[in-house]
């Protein structure tokens, strides 16, 4: 194989990984958020006995199960992809990432899968308290899952607790491996992100119904609950993000330099914050730069003129792609600011008692619906692309990690993934939006026995008001 075709196969493998993980992360983000939301709803129902909470539960559990199904099958791909595409990485560092993944399966995946059946179909088979316990177990399972996978991922960013013998990683201290320096920040930031993204979906659904004048107490309740969540979490997320950034500055200075589009330090001059620009990797400068002096030092060093490492201090081969991470980072922070703004808007609307009526606010909330997920992806792109050219920071280069498949093989599988993912998960999202448009109804039908899932969902569609697509009548059954 020629040099360039090796390169092509390598880049295709990277695209394949980025593509499949990006799809996967969307579903767990929703299930992490919804599982906790469902646990809260069921607890409130048990405590207050108000049927409203139960109705909301029965509505959101449908969205949850849909996303869960998609999370499981896309996750299965991830668990095998380390071997199919990253054999070098797996032989080198499997001794660390393998046990962490094994713990994730043992302590989280089985737990979720074992109690999910009861949570979805067990209403008539177990008592309410046992059912509540099942919901809680599933919610805790999603959090445990995030913990292990983020320990593994964070170790790849800030590896410690190992030695290298015969070109392989040998773990020496498991506590150091799990609680590596970037892990706490990444875990908290990711879980908050999942809560935020889910709350935005809930709020945006409610806003849509209110704008369509489909009002009922359920819709108002979920708008209110979601907005409280965002009010608490969005500002918190910015603070955590700031700490996360400081941590990255300490351990991966090249990533921060790339994020900031910061090329060189002039002696004695504070680091500016570049608001806008187009970093050019070849010319080593930014086009169209707009910057604020001192602000970079202030944010990253919390000082008036301390300098931040600059890209030119790193060899060319060790620089992450600044053009991409400069922008993905700004997308994340920009949306984060909009979320805080939405939260403040809601405080004002509540105070004016217009939370359920203010058209401006509701339209804004509606539009913000998908931004949580977009922000999560932007954040991950920043994190992962900013780590390049390393797969395990400072230890192994991504180029040495890849399995030597031919270009034709990798392009074939990549094409298959793209096709299947867009078709299957695309339809999944359409089904989800359909359900969201029906919205929660008072007296939501129980999803009781396995058999009545049929009643709980399909027939809901057919009897639900507002939902009679002309081309589909129940009599058109395929025989």
């Amino acid at each position: 194989m020629s040099e360039s075709s090796v390169d092509l196969a390598f880049n295709l493998a990277r695209i394949q990984f980025g593509f499949t993980i990006s799809f996967h992360i969307i579903f767990p983000a929703i299930t992490i958020g919804l599982a906790s939301f469902l646990a809260v709803l069921e607890a409130k129902w048990l405590l207050t006995k108000q049927s409203l909470y139960l109705d909301l539960y029965h509505f959101w559990v449908k969205i949850f199960s849909l996303c869960f199904g998609m999370g499981v099958v896309s996750g299965l791909v991830m668990a095998y992809q380390f071997g199919t595409n990253w054999a070098g990485f797996s032989t080198f560092a499997g001794s660390v990432t393998g046990p962490l993944l094994a713990y994730e399966v043992l302590t989280a995946f089985f737990l979720e899968a074992g109690f999910l059946g009861v949570m979805l179909f067990g209403w008539k088979r177990v008592g309410p308290h046992l059912h509540f316990a099942a919901t809680c177990v599933v919610a805790v399972g999603t959090l445990i899952s995030a913990t292990w996978i983020l320990a593994s991922n964070s170790w790849m960013h800030t590896p410690q607790g190992f030695e290298i013998i015969n070109g392989k990683v040998i773990p020496t201290d498991w506590l150091a491996i799990i609680f590596n320096p970037s892990f706490p920040y990444r875990l908290v930031h990711m879980v908050l992100a999942a809560y935020l993204a889910t709350a935005l979906i809930v709020v945006s659904t409610a806003a849509w119904h209110l704008l369509k004048d489909k009002r009922n107490p359920l819709i108002k309740k979920m708008l209110s609950m979601g907005m409280w969540m965002i009010l608490i979490v969005a500002p918190l997320q910015a603070v955590v993000g700031d700490f996360h950034g400081l941590n990255t500055l300490k351990y991966q200075p090249a990533k921060i330099a790339a994020i900031e589009g910061h090329w060189e330090n002039v002696p004695g001059q504070a680091t500016p914050l570049i608001l806008f620009g187009w970093p050019d990797m070849d010319l080593e400068k930014n086009h169209f730069e707009v910057s604020v002096p001192h602000l970079g030092s202030l944010i990253l060093r919390h000082s008036w003129d301390a300098q931040v490492p600059a890209l030119k201090e790193f060899p060319k081969a060790d620089r992450p792609n600044s053009t991409i991470v400069f922008w993905t980072f700004r997308v994340m922070v920009g949306f984060g600011m909009l979320m805080i703004f939405l939260a403040l808007f809601s405080v004002w609307a509540r105070w004016k008692q217009r939370l359920y009526d203010d058209k401006m606010f509701l339209r804004f909330a509606l539009l913000m619906g998908p931004t949580g997920l977009v922000t999560i992806l932007a954040g991950w792109f920043t994190t992962e692309i900013g780590r390049q050219p390393w797969i395990v920071y400072g230890l192994m280069r991504t180029a040495d990690a890849v399995t030597k498949h031919t270009t034709s093989e990798v392009s074939m599988t990549l094409a298959a993934f793209v096709l299947v993912y867009f078709a299957v998960f695309g339809v999944g999202v359409i089904y989800m939006i359909r359900l969201l448009k029906i919205g929660p109804q008072p007296g939501e039908i129980l999803s009781g026995d396995p058999l009545s899932i049929n009643k709980g969902t399909t027939e809901d569609f057919i009897v639900a008001p507002e939902f009679h697509p002309p081309h589909s009548t129940p009599s058109e059954d395929d025989k």
């Binding site: 499981v72 797996s90 899968a113 074992g114 031919t406």
Partner: protein, 335 residues
Amino acid sequence: MHIDLPLIWAIIILFGIMMYVMMDGFDLGIGILYPFFNIKEDRDVMMNTIAPVWDGNETWLVLGGAGLLAAFPLAYSVILSAFYLPVISMLLALILRGVAFEFRFKALEHERHFWDKSFIVGSFAATFFQGVILGAYLQGIKVVDNQFAGGQLDWITPFSIFTGLGLLVTYSLLGVTWIIMKTSGELQAKSYYLARILAFLLLAFILAVSVWTPLFNQAIAERWFTMPNMLWLSPIPLLVACIFYKLQKALTEKAHVSPFIYALLLVFLGYLGLGISIWPNIIPPDISLYMASSPPQSQSFALVGAVIIIPLILLYTAWSYYVFRGKVSADDHYH
């Protein structure tokens, strides 16, 4: 005290894969059998018998992958690289069928047939590729310098295609006896009939594989056909014969639960036979468990979790099957 960690891990992984084959086996089997049952209500019932448990069943496959990565990273990388195309095909097929559980019930009436097809195609392809991978694996993988060194289409052989078909039969037998256990009425009656045919087919496949593998692999032939091994191992074929007879009898007597148990036992024996053939290699023909092991620090760390947690998993999985015990019948549907 010396603990043979690689040995223990090999047993755990073999156990995980066995759980996978037996448990996801019957729910994949349901998908393979779908074409034989084309009444909507029958299909609803069939899917509902597995809806609460399929996710847990599939998790054993995730454990297989994760366990292999944790304990035998070399085997994980080499096997998955060698079977790149069939593994990816299997994963894509599992997506097609996995989403059908949710989508089928969320689809509008006129869309449902599409997810039925996706369930069928996905179940067929996932099973077939698993069988192909199994066959190609038994035939051996070419390794140089700890890397896969064979050609990308090495896995396509008459034998691997044959084991692919064999696994389709295996899983459908598990599926059909599961339906016998979980349903009643006409659905069940039809299943008795299908189960008979499938049992004979499975027996034929077991015989053929037993003759075929020793032919292409000297070591396997020696393992089975030299004294004293032959004596020690003779109960296995005898048990297969005996259980096959019991299964046929149970089907004639229209028993409800025992056919499923016998089918599981048959599959277990077949699995055991294959394990005996390749032991102690983890990448046939010549890389052993010990050569492919991760460092003891990794194996022992993960072992603590596995030993404590796997029994718990078995307990609550059993509980969840217990919660959903009993027949699922079409009549319930109209209540």
